[in-house]
């Protein structure tokens, strides 16, 4: 990136998505969530317009754009109050991995449906005993003839109820050494032996999290993504887009809260002036604005590096962007709740719901602490405690 303004097309994309988002909006989103409903209309419409498949190659019906484009879509919907969490997973992680490492047949089979959003694919790495520490994954795949047989447990997996398949990170036994090494499998959600149960979360969102139970799930040979030896590369390929998208999702959420707070604080008077005139209210909102802009800039940098093919450079920026965006979104929501006074915790204004939602940004997909570990060890060269 040698300029600090986005291309004309990127700006036009943002404007178009923001228009669409405004038609649905935060009240609609929370009403759906509280009513136990889904955001299918928005997902479908955004998909038809090609917004969810901007990064899928043109030959598979996608937009032929970049992760930066996809991140812009994610941020703008989130900034309208109707962020689509599964964008972080389905087009960003799953479509990227299949595009970069899938076999031709896998690309033919899956990418056209990522392109128009008609497919949602969940991504499952977290396990009950292997959260932050992916080295302890125990979901294993055993070869049986040509088939694979999967066994394991996953936890906190988003959107499984709406997904046609789940990209499951498991391990296979190396035939020669007997050591376990990672492997990625596309598991249809209707596969025999595959079960999922919702986890009751204190988050107001239409997107739910699930426990997965894989008991002798038999899969054909082509369920394995790409070649077995490339699994680690595949995982790394998915990580940067995931972080960039999570950062964009968080920046958008912060922008939404801030917009609402500014409107409220400019309108509501308790004494003679609107409360936005009091620095106790105005300054935290100004801080939120600055920190959101900084986070957004770092996110754009990470996307630009990733899109230019600099995976390593993108890694550091993507982690920093994810950290900064999560913190900025939490602060923005905090300031917004406070600016709303008692209304900050009413369902009508919807700010209280963002308190828990914004805390997710600090935990998933990679926690604040793990990012700080990464920066301490990789960027600063400090020794490791674990």
């Amino acid at each position: 990136m040698n300029t600090f303004t986005e291309s004309e097309e990127r700006q036009a994309l943002r404007a178009a998505v923001a228009d669409l988002g405004r038609r649905y909006g935060g009240e609609w989103f929370q009403r759906k969530a509280r009513g136990g409903e889904k955001t299918t209309e928005l997902w479908t419409e955004a998909g038809k317009l090609g917004y969810l498949g901007v990064n899928v190659p043109e030959e598979y019906g996608g937009g032929g754009g970049t992760i930066g484009d996809l991140a812009a879509v994610c941020e703008e919907l989130s900034a309208a109050g109707c962020g689509l969490l599964l964008m972080v997973v389905s087009p960003a992680i799953c479509a990227t991995i299949i595009t970069r490492f899938g076999t031709d047949e896998q690309k033919q089979a899956w990418l056209p449906r990522f392109a128009d959003g008609s497919l949602r694919m969940a991504f499952a790495i977290t396990e009950p005993d292997a959260g932050s520490n992916a080295h302890k994954l125990t979901t294993t795949a055993r070869r049986d003839g040509d088939d694979w047989v999967l066994n394991g447990r996953k936890v906190f997996i988003s959107g499984v109820d709406e997904a046609a398949a789940v990209l499951v990170v498991g391990r296979t036994e190396d035939a020669r050494t007997g050591r376990l090494k990672p492997a990625l499998f596309i598991v249809p959600t209707d596969a025999p032996g595959f079960e999922y149960q919702p986890i009751e979360m204190d988050i107001v969102s239409p997107d739910k999290q699930f426990m997965l139970f894989l008991d002798d799930v038999r899969l054909p040979a082509d369920a394995l993504v790409g070649s077995q030896d490339a699994a680690l590369m595949q995982l790394f390929a998915g990580l940067n887009p995931e972080r960039i998208m999570a950062a964009s999702f968080a920046v958008g959420m912060g922008r939404y809260a801030l917009d609402r707070a500014v409107a409220y604080a400019g309108d509501r008077s308790v004494w003679s002036t609107p409360i936005g005139a009091h620095q106790g209210i105005a300054h935290p909102l100004a801080v939120a604005k600055i920190e959101l802009e900084l986070a957004k800039l770092m996110t754009q940098k990470a996307a630009a590096l990733y899109d230019s093919g600099d995976d390593a450079g993108a890694g550091e920026s993507a982690n920093m962007a994810k950290y900064a965006a999560a913190e900025a979104s939490i602060k923005a929501v905090d300031a917004a709740v406070q600016a709303h006074g008692g209304n900050g915790l009413t369902a009508e204004y919807g700010m209280g719901a963002l308190v828990a939602a914004s805390r997710v940004n600090r935990i998933a997909p990679v926690s604040r602490e793990m990012i700080l570990n990464f920066v301490a060890q990789n960027t600063l060269g400090l020794p490791k405690s674990y």
């Binding site: 004309e8 097309e9 036009a12 994309l13 404007a15 178009a16 228009d19 669409l20 038809k48 317009l49 090609g50 917004y51 498949g53 901007v54 937009g63 032929g64 754009g65 484009d69």
Partner: protein
């Protein structure tokens, strides 16, 4: 295969605060965000639907300053094929009649026009007469206030909706149609549309190219001038009526007080 020209205008976003410049009472373009007028999105949508049904070509035509390219781009990203941008500093402050004259001159440069589609009225000036004036200048029939448009061979049929009710109009092509709010829901530009828009041809012309005399356009030569302008007074806070079972009575009392009933 109708050849359609859509007249589009860039206007200050109705979401933002709009202002006239202190000096000459022309629009203060720095003040508000500029967007493609929503009624023109509907005009483009109608043109695209006709194109999708009958093939043909859609040209967007805009008279406006430099930054009106954004509005033109939006039209192209929705699916229009090409654009004409009439860009000339001499046009600053032109009124409705002058603008219509320039539009008509620009439409004449397009070969074999079948249909000109415009919005009923722009959300800023709200003159509501450009389509009629353009039709008059071109000698085309005008079918205004359309809520439904169908093209069939060389005729166009329009359901015209005004406060007085519905009228069914029919004219032979070429014709000018202006559309109302209810005509359709404009599409959002798709990602591919946005990416393709940049490569579509935009012909930028000045008034000399159109054979329009500079002495005929611009603020100094306008037929109408804005003498004075004052911002709308802020809306007064409403009166809240608590309904303790007598809400209806209270509303009636209020309306009587206002001499409304």
């Amino acid at each position: 295969m109708p050849n359609i020209v859509v007249l589009v205008k860039q206007v200050p976003d109705t979401y933002s605060e709009r202002k006239l410049s202190e000096g000459d009472h022309t629009l203060d373009r720095d003040f508000a965000d500029a967007v493609l007028d929503e009624i023109n999105e509907r005009a483009i949508e109608e043109a695209l639907q006709i194109k999708e049904a009958h093939d043909g070509e859609v040209t967007v035509l805009c008279v406006g300053p430099d930054r009106a390219t954004d509005a033109i781009r939006k039209g192209l990203s929705m699916g229009a094929d090409k654009a004409i941008h009439v860009l000339d500093d001499a046009l600053h402050g032109s009124d409705l009649l002058q603008t219509a004259k320039v539009l008509a001159a620009a439409i004449r440069t397009v070969e074999d026009v079948d249909l000109v589609i415009a919005g009923n009225e722009a959300s800023d000036g709200a003159g509501g007469a450009v389509p009629a004036v353009v039709a008059e200048l071109l000698g085309y029939p005008q079918l205004t206030h359309a809520r439904e448009v169908t093209v069939d061979g060389t005729t166009v049929k329009v359901t015209r909706e005004t406060e007085d009710g519905l009228t069914h109009l029919e004219a032979s092509l070429p014709a000018v149609v202006s559309v109302g709010e209810k005509i359709n829901e404009p599409r959002y530009p798709s990602f591919k549309g946005i990416m393709a828009a940049k490569k579509k041809p935009v012909e930028t012309v000045d008034i000399a190219d159109l054979g329009v005399d500079a002495g005929d356009v611009g603020l100094a030569n306008a037929w109408s001038t804005v003498v004075e302008a004052a911002p709308k007074p802020p809306r007064e806070a409403g009166q809240r009526v608590e309904d303790d079972g007598d809400g209806g009575v209270k509303i009636a009392e209020y309306l009587v007080g206002q001499k409304l009933i």
